[in-house]
């Protein structure tokens, strides 16, 4: 079987999974969740008002229609309008995605690059003082709350030293930099600890394999062994770890966006949750479901490319 037909087949199998995810979302929002109109109208609302609002929001539609609407939105990306802002949800998402991705993508690529390099380096110097030092720093970085980084960053580096903007956002290339730099750095610091520890374990698992001894017996240098033999074998685990995080990058970081006043998807979702804006939350749930499914497929395809032992069926 060729790679293309493998990819097509995998994509075909995605359809029932999407239907399943939609069903889950349907259960959560249309069956088990409490009536959103009560929180929207307050506790003094009359029966008539509630009924009227339910009719207006389409909550009285038969259940199968409500499910069908969710499925339709998963394929057309037409999520309707927000209950609170009345805006087209797809437009809101498009607007929010750019600020979110301006922060998460650079942070993601830099942190992967940094973490993989550091872990190759410490795996090379395994067992030495340097290795132990790096592991210690990782654990230390991980044990500090993310709020500390945000507050110290904003107070000291942005407010006292004036290196960055404290919060806010501006569009366009050079203007945006001072706003996003600090969030990016903080995300990198937050991910480097766990990432290095994970990659280091993966590399060390490989270093003690027999094929590494064979490579040494051929006269290869340690560096060549690390970068060629060990890294390619470690790629399989690294890919899973890395690719499955991409959907979350698209959705933005709730905490960072709300602290830095970034008008991204994270902030948007948070607002929607606070105002029981079901269509927006549903749209985000559908989108993150689809993204996770698609990136799962991408991971599987990458396995085939990286690991010759994985069979195409």
């Amino acid at each position: 079987m060729s790679l293309t037909s493998y990819v097509l087949r995998r994509l075909f199998y995605v359809i029932p999974v999407i239907l399943g995810v939609c069903f889950l979302i349907f259960i959560i929002f249309s069956v088990v969740s409490p009536d959103p109109t009560i929180s929207m109208l307050g506790k003094h609302a009359t029966k008539a008002q509630v009924l009227e609002l339910r009719e207006a929001l389409g909550l009285n539609k038969p259940l199968y229609i409500q499910y069908f609407d969710i499925v339709k939105s998963a394929f057309t990306f037409d999520f309707g309008r927000s209950w609170s802002t009345k805006q087209e949800i797809f437009e809101m998402i498009k607007q929010g995605a750019i600020p979110s991705m301006t922060i998460t993508f650079p942070a993601f690529f830099l942190s992967v690059l940094l973490s993989v390099s550091i872990s190759l380096f410490v795996a090379f110097y395994r067992g030495t003082f340097l290795d132990k030092g790096v592991v210690f720093v990782c654990v230390a970085l991980m044990s500090i709350s993310s709020l500390v980084y945000i507050l110290v960053g904003q107070w000291f580096f942005a407010f006292k030293l004036g290196l960055f903007e404290i919060s806010g956002y501006e569009e366009g290339f050079p203007d945006v930099v001072p706003y996003v730099l600090l969030p990016i750095i903080i995300i990198i610091i937050l991910s480097v600890g766990p990432d290095v520890r994970f990659y280091r374990t993966v590399m060390l698992d490989e270093i003690y394999q027999d094929y590494v001894r064979t490579a040494r017996s051929k006269g290869l240098s340690e560096r060549k062994i690390m970068f060629k033999h060990v890294l390619k074998n470690a790629m399989v685990s690294i890919i899973t770890y890395v690719v499955l995080r991409i959907p979350f990058l698209i959705l933005g970081s709730l905490l960072i966006e709300s602290f830095f006043g970034i008008p991204g998807l994270g902030g948007m979702t948070l607002k929607a949750v606070n105002s029981s804006d079901f269509p927006v939350i549903k749209a985000m749930a559908v989108l993150s479901g689809i993204a996770t499914i698609l990136f799962n497929v991408i991971t599987d395809v990458l396995y085939v490319v990286v690991d010759p032992r994985v069979k195409l069926n």
Partner: protein, 330 residues
Amino acid sequence: MAEKILEVKDLVVEFRTDRGTITAVNGVNFEVFKGQTLGIVGESGSGKSVTALSIMRLIPNPPGRVAGGEILYRGQNVLDIPLDEMRSIRGNKIAMIFQEPMTSLNPVFTVGNQIEEVLELHQKELSKQQRTEKAIEMLKLVGIPSPEKRVHEYPHQLSGGMRQRVMIAMSLACEPDILIADEPTTALDVTIQAQILELMKKLQTEMGMGIIMITHDLGVVAETCDDVAVMYCGQIVEQSDVKTLFGHPRHPYTKGLIESIPSFDSTTGGAKGRLPTIEGMVPSLFDLPSGCNFQNRCAHVTEKCRGPHGEPKLEPVSKGQMVRCFHPLS
């Protein structure tokens, strides 16, 4: 007399473990000659692999370290040379085949790539094209059918026997002076075993390398070796040419090993029809007895063996035959 290419002198290798330091190889001496095969035999844990890895300087450190002795390759002590220089010897002048054919190749590179890699390293004058041709040629040499196709395959597409052939092809690609084969056939079934040994003998005649054949199977020794060293608890207990060893073993341990070869017609010991094996357990390296290491399993043990005069030395008993025993068999 053939040219001497390798000489191991008083080799001592230690491992530091949680339970204390063990001496896995304790004062081993042997020589390897061009075009000849030295067998190293012994039960599991006797220090065969550790000896082999020391020659390649591949003892994992920590926990291991070569604590003493010399390894002279063409007169030069490889334990003293810088690592760079050692790398230009590994895979080029001294090559090794490992005990584990299933895991010794890298699963994510084609076998061609892995053979070409060693050529790229040591035969820089070859072009990419020539390396591929040489890889195919090597696969053909070790008897892999349709080598033009196999170079592009990955290790998991090959059987254990085929993988070991690939390892042999890889180790011989640079026509080394010395090939260390650490139980090259143990993990393979009997027919494949015979083929691989046959192949190695044939290639040795063609290329003239010296071979160190490590095995726990005296049958393999009888078929392939010129000289033999029998190891027990990190020491050589008997050493001679192969004919003398089988014809007239002087150490009770060697005799026991020979008698436990399945096809060997034994005349002593054991109930009728039962395979004689050596009774008792190999002592732990953490807790070696004083005196002779073999005392607890030996039928000829005397008070002298139990320690008052120290341990027995490896001493000549006849021309070219050395034995580490207070009471060598007559």
